[in-house]
Subunit: 312 residues, 2 copies
């Protein structure tokens, strides 16, 4: 019963933060140019809104806001950082879906951006959402202390760039055999590295951003960093299991793609049964990482379970 | 003779700053992952180096370093901001050259990135260089004061994003008639707006970045902002004239593209003769904008002349 109640509370809070994130992104992507902008071209703005509004669980914003809440950071501040992180997530989906990348037509049950608009617009939407993320983090509304804001910028850049998400995406294309005659041999460690970069880095940053906003001490920051890394790992294993077991209608995007691409995944290497076992041991690890925060971290613990058990 | 000496001094200084920028970018794009990065995938790193090293006049870095020099900012700081700005410039070239965008095969006399590598790599290289720019600006090596660093971040994001360069690129695609049956009617004001965003915003930011690094007062900052805007305008008019009059071998990229695309340009609207006249009046305006800095601004003034007179 405790777990069940925790899950209901978590889902209510996830929805609440999703709605707040939506409202904030809607405002940030409003018509009026802000200082230093000359104009917001209508087609680009419309497409940025298509890419970032009206969908998504907003799980990364949840991580930012709930991690920051451990330190009693005002929610209007943590939502700004949450919106910035969500912009990076949405940009990565738009670029990953492009024909030259994963070539997906369906995303969250809707046509992907280059299908609804066109490829050039999709490239510029991704570029502009990525840029907007740093714009948002640099604004005084995100935190009164410039040292905090610049730490948020540096952390996001490291998580998203060459040594993080974008690098992970490159490793993922290589894992499909894109740059060789056949997919390379990858062991579990290689796959974990790839996934820690491609998917894990942004989730992990979500938790670390809360610590940065909250002026966490070194121990608290490391605890959240560790929690974020575990959640990232669990997230990807759950995703791979969905790719094997889910159907496109429920998941909201094409499934069975990894096998089609003969791509090495943790699930492919371990098998589904062992992968599920690993997933549940990761939930335990996630919970113990949060031990220093006691009962305050109940919702974050529930989030780790949600990630492991999600069906879409 | 004075102008001639000014021009020789300018060219020597431009070369010097180009060499220093090259060395710094080479270091920033080194093998080793930095804190918060897990690894730097070799193919992505190689391609980022291909996109950013070994070419280019480094005119934007020049603007940053020389504007900052007006305030005696140590060159090792201004070069960091200069390298960040150059990363954004290089990312924009890689994405603009993509088949779905301008579809160029030649850049700086070499195959464009997607020709030398592939389209997916080119998309990720652009994303990673853009991200690296904010990473660089956020580092303590760029300036000891976090308030300065975060102001640099915000300014670059505004210059590069939806209301700046990326928005200008979208307007430029629309100007070709990409999203309609025929190119839209554009008057001189529309064209100037497009160009102020597409090309002008980054050049302008280069000058403003110097003011931010130097802790300029409001009047000094506005003077550099105005100078940067004028240089941006002159740069684009000179570029359009080159597109009409230059040959591909000298310019290092395809020419005659605007006419082929039936694209409205200031040169197309004014004619070459009037456009050249406008260019020379812009040089005068650029020089008077810098009047508050007296003789210290001689190299920046020479830069404005260089922009107007360049042949490649």
């Amino acid at each position: 019963m405790a777990a069940k109640n925790g899950s209901a509370r978590f889902e209510a809070r996830l929805s609440e933060i999703a709605a707040l994130t939506e409202t904030l992104l809607d405002r940030l992507l409003g018509l009026g140019p802000v200082a230093g902008e000359r104009a917001r071209p209508a087609r680009l703005l419309d497409a940025m809104r298509y890419a970032s509004l009206g969908g998504g669980k907003r799980f990364r914003p949840f991580l930012v806001v709930e991690s920051a809440a451990l330190f009693a950071v005002p929610q209007e501040l943590s939502l700004m950082a949450a919106a910035a992180l969500e912009c990076v997530h949405c940009y990565s989906l738009v670029h990953d879906d492009l024909p030259a990348m994963d070539n997906d037509d369906l995303r969250r049950g809707r046509p992907t951006l280059h299908k609804a608009f066109d490829e050039a617009t999709a490239i510029l939407v991704g570029d502009s959402l990525l840029t907007l993320a740093f714009d948002i983090l640099a604004r005084p509304e995100t935190h009164p202390d410039p040292a905090v804001r610049v730490a948020l910028v540096l952390g996001l850049a490291r998580a998203a760039g060459l040594g993080g998400m974008a690098g992970g995406q490159m490793l993922d294309l290589a894992a499909e055999g894109r740059f060789a005659a056949a997919p390379p041999q990858m062991d579990l460690k290689d796959v974990e590295q790839l996934q820690a970069m491609k998917t894990g880095a942004l989730l992990r940053y979500g938790c670390v951003a809360g610590a940065i906003l909250g002026g966490a001490d070194e121990g608290q920051r490391m605890a959240l960093d560790r929690f974020g890394a575990i959640v990232g790992e669990a997230f990807q294993i759950a995703d791979d299991i969905l790719d094997v077991e889910g159907d496109a209608a429920t998941v909201g995007k094409a499934t069975g793609k990894d096998a089609d691409a003969r791509k090495a995944t943790a699930v492919g290497i371990l098998g589904v049964a062992k992968a599920k076992k690993k997933l549940f041991s990761l939930i335990d690890e996630a919970e113990s990482a949060l031990a220093p925060f006691g009962a305050n971290a109940a919702l974050l613990k529930a989030a780790a379970r949600f990630v492991a058990e999600r069906r879409a």
